[in-house]
Symmetry: D2
Subunit: 341 residues, 4 copies
Amino acid sequence: MTFNGDGRNVRVGVIGAGNIGADHATTLAREVAGAEVVAVFDPDPARAAAVAEATQARTSARAEELISAPDVDSVLVASPDETHPAMVLACIAAGKPVLCEKPLATSLAGATEVMEAEIAHGARLVRLGFMRRYDPGYRAAKEVIAAGELGQVVVLHCVHRGKASAPHYTTAMLLSNSAVHEFDVTRWLLGEEIVAASVVAGRSSPYAPVGLHDPLIVLLETSSGVVVDIELFCNCRYGYDVRCEVVGTDGTICCGEPASTFRTATGWRRSSIADDWRARFHEAYRAELQDWVESLRRDEQRGPTAWDGYAATAVAEACVAAAADGARAKVELGAPPSLYR
Amino acid sequence: MTFNGDGRNVRVGVIGAGNIGADHATTLAREVAGAEVVAVFDPDPARAAAVAEATQARTSARAEELISAPDVDSVLVASPDETHPAMVLACIAAGKPVLCEKPLATSLAGATEVMEAEIAHGARLVRLGFMRRYDPGYRAAKEVIAAGELGQVVVLHCVHRGKASAPHYTTAMLLSNSAVHEFDVTRWLLGEEIVAASVVAGRSSPYAPVGLHDPLIVLLETSSGVVVDIELFCNCRYGYDVRCEVVGTDGTICCGEPASTFRTATGWRRSSIADDWRARFHEAYRAELQDWVESLRRDEQRGPTAWDGYAATAVAEACVAAAADGARAKVELGAPPSLYR
Amino acid sequence: MTFNGDGRNVRVGVIGAGNIGADHATTLAREVAGAEVVAVFDPDPARAAAVAEATQARTSARAEELISAPDVDSVLVASPDETHPAMVLACIAAGKPVLCEKPLATSLAGATEVMEAEIAHGARLVRLGFMRRYDPGYRAAKEVIAAGELGQVVVLHCVHRGKASAPHYTTAMLLSNSAVHEFDVTRWLLGEEIVAASVVAGRSSPYAPVGLHDPLIVLLETSSGVVVDIELFCNCRYGYDVRCEVVGTDGTICCGEPASTFRTATGWRRSSIADDWRARFHEAYRAELQDWVESLRRDEQRGPTAWDGYAATAVAEACVAAAADGARAKVELGAPPSLYR
Amino acid sequence: MTFNGDGRNVRVGVIGAGNIGADHATTLAREVAGAEVVAVFDPDPARAAAVAEATQARTSARAEELISAPDVDSVLVASPDETHPAMVLACIAAGKPVLCEKPLATSLAGATEVMEAEIAHGARLVRLGFMRRYDPGYRAAKEVIAAGELGQVVVLHCVHRGKASAPHYTTAMLLSNSAVHEFDVTRWLLGEEIVAASVVAGRSSPYAPVGLHDPLIVLLETSSGVVVDIELFCNCRYGYDVRCEVVGTDGTICCGEPASTFRTATGWRRSSIADDWRARFHEAYRAELQDWVESLRRDEQRGPTAWDGYAATAVAEACVAAAADGARAKVELGAPPSLYR
């Protein structure tokens, strides 16, 4: 597929008009070159209508209708996690490129089904919304590692904190929905697979809703022996704070939220911390969407794949098992199918 | 003028294909929603052709031809400083919106001519490229000041450093081309005019080319009595480092280059400093261009005006006089014409 | 014992004239009020003589002679780790106050013997050299925790890095000699005991000597459920870097090496990292020694005790076991003897 | 004079038991090796008694009595600024070493008288309390400059802020009592003299007491052409904030208050700012006193001299003149007398 020949915009249909869907849609419409939002679907018609109006798009009555619409060149899936596989499968069936918000699936079975469908289709259509790969800090870390400037990486320290989780958030979601970012970051930064996972649950914060053990410490081991510790804490109350320190045999690199200002008053000097993922990673989301649109216009393949989504889901599933029985769980991925090499 | 009705892109003609013109053109083509570069002019045809190819535009043989082309909706002027007034006057004559890189003019006479032409035209067409107004740090500073969180502003400290100036850079250019950013930042942050300027020239760096006294210290006073000191140092060798500290009676805010990573090795922990204005302010330039395009599509008036360009040039001219005779020079602007209120 | 009555200096005998013994001796002689070094012992007579000369003290032929000398009011033990119990036991037998460098012992048996001797003596004579309790950053963290400003502590992240270990350094020493600081910090900051320990050994740095697995990740759990992760990395090559982040349900506090300057050059802005423990913690050592001397002069009991030394050794022993078999090791301390409550 | 032969403590008499006198006295008694406070004088007997008790010293009925007491080896002068010359002259007459808090005098005449008396005495007895020379940040800056790592210094930016001035504080005191630190720092860091001074007074803070124009901007020029700008702001309300940035042709160094911890809560990450000079410079004061005592015990001459005090007072006097008439004032020191070379 090429959009390049006639300089035409890529026409995107957006499925899911919740927080992140609305955010993606307006970013596509207002800040991404070469894109236009043409259709929006959400089970809540009011929500769909609001986003459609803000982006000068129409609403679709059903997801299937949106996916099959002739003027929808590509699809952005930002519906609830558990619906991701069905939506992406429909896109593959329609032969349309799709950017699926993470996670690809909440179960390995779901992820497998998507991956197999794409393999059967014979060409990559699916990109995963691992937007940290587009954050300047993480990109700098990857470059420094790749250039060998840290020597061999030996340890990764990750912190993933949010102000307050949704009321229904569960321990399993903390792993499959939140930690999945760190699983992808680990694989992407190091260029190798995660082979084992453990979960340590100490005291839980009284601010966590029932059913959610928060914080958790996750320990990962990679194929070459890098140890990764991850603090997941989605009810830390003070802000959205995501950081990563890569420790190598010859030096370290640490990325976090850049501070654009410092203020002083009454005894302190401070920088601000983002309120949520939107404030922290807006630039990364914009860059992700721009790169997706550009890759479609140039008919180029790049970005996180269904295999990346599958691998992250596999680690999440291992973590859920490890959290349940307190033991170290192995992750066995095997080699990536040829479509993803 | 409205581009909004039919959702059509704003078609931009770019005059000047040097460093900043090329940068603007590719940003418009690749990262700005709703814009497209249709024509490029540069006296150097090879340079024009390269930018035109990168942005899928055509080249124009002459600036006037570009400005009058029917498919050029608006013009971006990034030609050498001394040509700015002529280019902008031609755009006004053609009734086309124009984003003019700073400075508006290298002399007050030039700036006056442009402003008078726009007033005669009877509507604002000119925007000035004071992109710092779109930098997150400067924006945060403005918000904090406007909210009264610093009390009354009493002092502004500015630092403006670059690695190495162009060989032909002169002391006058240091004031009219570089410091003009600080003049605008001062006026914009404080919402008041600069009324006097002094220049202190101490020891000059041996790395400065002949004809350039570098660094200089500029002292400004505003109408309410805020004192502004500015260090201009365009041959500091280590990087492009632009910072500003606003001191109020109830606190301070400081903005500079955000650090997205920290590295450790051999005895230090460090963050990187941008190599040039491009690395430091790319996001601000993108936001500036996006806002310009959006304002054109919505037929809204906003952003720095010809009056802002005129005022900055007036301060620059006062500084040049102050540098020449070592005395404090007054700046007398009078009230802004009604078009700019 | 009181030294206060006549304003006389506390006369200290120093056992061990290696790096840390020499450092303590000169600090006592040159920077501590109310102290004087009177005797120095080291099996290497040249080393002893050099320190004695620098501090205007005499050398002792044997440790026992130093301990029993009538003009030695108190003893500072900075001999090799494995000799600590014997030295401290001799001090207790002589009824003399002793400041023993950490660890109290390299085995739980040794630590127990010391503790029991002190209990039999019936009064506290032993202080342990856990100098981080005197570091401004750690002290601030303790105050903030104690004031409840973080809510309940849930996680502690510790990093303990050094440039290069001694050639003979072993994995057991990494735990009993280095990590023992973090064991004490954890107990002291939280005011509770460590109940379990695990050790994760991933890839080891090629710069680590044979017999040392470096880095290690240690995981501790405290009685109230706080999870502590510790990165131990004594061959990180870039400097001595010790940090700690305390995560509470209502906020966090992080302490590390304060940066007294920032430099810019060739593309970076940087602060320096200490070369070794001396540069990083000199102030803490001085404050520790001053506080010890002052407590002796005022006949007051404070500072880390033999029980603190015993507890840290117990955790170290559990870690050694955990490292050996890869399993989680419990730490069972029981209640502190009444002398230490 | 030597105190070294018999290892005896230096016995210090303290004149002035106000904030800084009390602070120095307790630091000498509790944290300085080889010193003891033996006598305290203050016109307010209660104040004197409190400091005497805290330091186990006696009170003296009159300053002259203290200075001439046979058991007073040396004198620390921390009385009000305007009494400094008389106190120091009495010490010189008694042939006793004296550490005089800055400034040496509030008028050039007073400073001259002291200097001439010391020259007539024929040996240096006077040290000035320019404690920043003992601050780690300033020391690092001096080392880096001296090593040529910055190339040639071209600009110095200084900030000197305090929470709230004393009610009686005047504009002249802002220059002679506060800015005198920056005058000394400039001379000491650069190793050259200040040759001219200007003062810019913009808007004054409503929090400044009547008679005090606060903030002020002072501009200095040194013999080699370095330009120094100093913001003096003693009613900034948020804390005691003293910083300095040295700009060289090959790089910069910046020193300020080191942050020993960072906290996060409710949207920010912050470090604390010292409440007053005591918190900010306690270590520098301790090091200054220790170095003074050590130099006395070793009979060595070092540290800031009466000439340094005279030079700083000369600059202060020039600034007061410049502030009065708004013109640039020259500072003409001549060569230092041979005693100070």
